[in-house]
């Protein structure tokens, strides 16, 4: 399997709002820490190292 970069979230607007709401009232530092926890949780769920690496390099924009 490769990194799915096609739309995959059923209601994009809901997801996006949840993501922003999640950080409401947090300091930059608290947000950074929350993001770190979130990344770890999601990464473990994905598990597949090839996909994780593809996502990392896509996020870093080094294609």
């Amino acid at each position: 399997m490769s990194l799915n970069t096609k739309p995959n979230i059923a209601s994009p607007d809901d997801f996006y709002q949840d993501l922003i709401d999640l950080h409401r009232d947090l300091s930059d530092e608290e947000s950074r820490d929350l993001n770190a926890r979130l990344i770890l949780l999601l990464a473990n769920h994905i598990g597949d190292m090839d996909i994780l690496k593809a996502a990392m390099s896509a996020a870093r924009k080094d294609t």
Binding site: R32, D33, A36, R37, I39, L40, L41
Partner: protein, 539 residues
Amino acid sequence: MLNTYAYPEFEYIQCDEQKHNTVKRHKAVIIGAGPVGLTTALDFAKQGIPVVVLDDNNTVSIGSRAVCYAKRPLEVWDRLGVGERMIEKSVEWKVGKVFRDEELVYQFDLLPEDDHKIPAFINLQQYYLEEYMIDECKKQYGDLIDFRWKSKIISLKNNDDHVKMQVETPDGVYGLESDYVVACDGANSDTRKMLGLEFDGHFFQDRFLIADVVMKADFPAERWFWFNPPFHRNQSVLLHMQSDDVWRIDFQLGWDCDPEEEKKPEKVIPRLKAMLGDDVDFELEWVSVYQFACRQLKDFKCGRVFIAGDAAHQVSPFGARGANTGVQDIDNLTWKLKLVMDGKVPESLLDSYSEERVFAAADNLLNSTRSTDFITPKSPISKAFRDAVLDLASEYEFARPLVNSGRLSMPTPYLNSSLNTPDEDTFSGKMRPGTNCADAPITVDGQDTWFLNKIANSKFVVLTFDTSITDKTVNINGIDCDILVVGKDIMDSKGCLQERYDGTGETTYLIRPDQHVAARWRTFDQDKIKKAVLTATAQ
């Protein structure tokens, strides 16, 4: 400071060469009598190679140094006859606990597999280790091992067929020559500098206070590691038990401390009281402040000089890697050098020492650097991820394997070594070519023993499950190999050999003198065995 240990003093005796002002050519000279040099002396002598051991000091390791020894080096020391004494004196442990603040984040059990002679890990002060090896050298090989204490190497030069050295003793300077030299003179190796070799790698911007404390405490024999404990905020602390009621405590200090200040008892004692509580009586045995580094040479062979141990590679001690890997350098070197000295194989076999051990050192450095990055994050985001892992670990199982307070030292298999014969058949299990052999309980002539003890005489071994084989040895271009038939020569009393070596049918292994797999097949085929022995000896 309290001493639980009386340091032996070895007598300096002026050697004949210096007395009579003659230059003698030796077969092998070992520079440095630390754990690695002493292992070399024992291994060489066991193979009948006479050695001169030079050390600038005249006692064993002073102060707080190595504590934990892993299974593989202990197996090597067991092969050399000193493992059992070390284990007997040591503290064995299996459980590690990781705390954050006051909370237990998780605990691990090394869960060593049953039916191995040697435990997963022991703790023992480095001075005992060295003392036991020196005892064994004197007891077994008094005539082969020539210890020269207070003998500092001050110059060294490679020539085509020998190495020339100058040594400084209390009586002045003398010269000596040797066919080969093993440089085991530690992290600040003078030999390395004399050869003009440079370390690759770096120091970490962090310091650690290492305290050895004598106390009667009822902590269990476990490894306890704290991140950010209330008694030492924003830093880490490690607690480990050693023999004789001595405990090793490491305090991370950070980079902005004054190492000289931190060493003072008036600074150290309050730190320990905060940690241990007011009602624990303790005394300091030794205190030092270290900055750790991860560095290695690109090549562990330079002309006729082999560089081994800390002289060749230096790691931070998280995961107990320094002495542990150094010993494996020697395990790798000795049999090769013996075959070359006996004129049975070309000198090019010696290049594989560097090939295999540089690879192992790099693996070690990688592991050690990763642990250090977790314990001492180098950037705010690295720290954020580290803390996120710790946050999640107490609640969620998935995050626990990410916690890295030091991965325990495991041998690095030489999977890509040029001495391996690649598999042509399929096998399950871990015994791939280049891997150190797993132990197993066996019986020989009705007596219980261990497989690794049976293959401990530094020869090639053909291990076969084909019971139709009747030969006891095979000689390949002058190299003697023992043949061991499972079910005849050795009995697989618990079925562990069969299981660990995937020993179905006529499965046959070629095992190197250092107990590493060189090749394996599903049949016993003389021609293939011969070819594999030649490959394993660079022919």
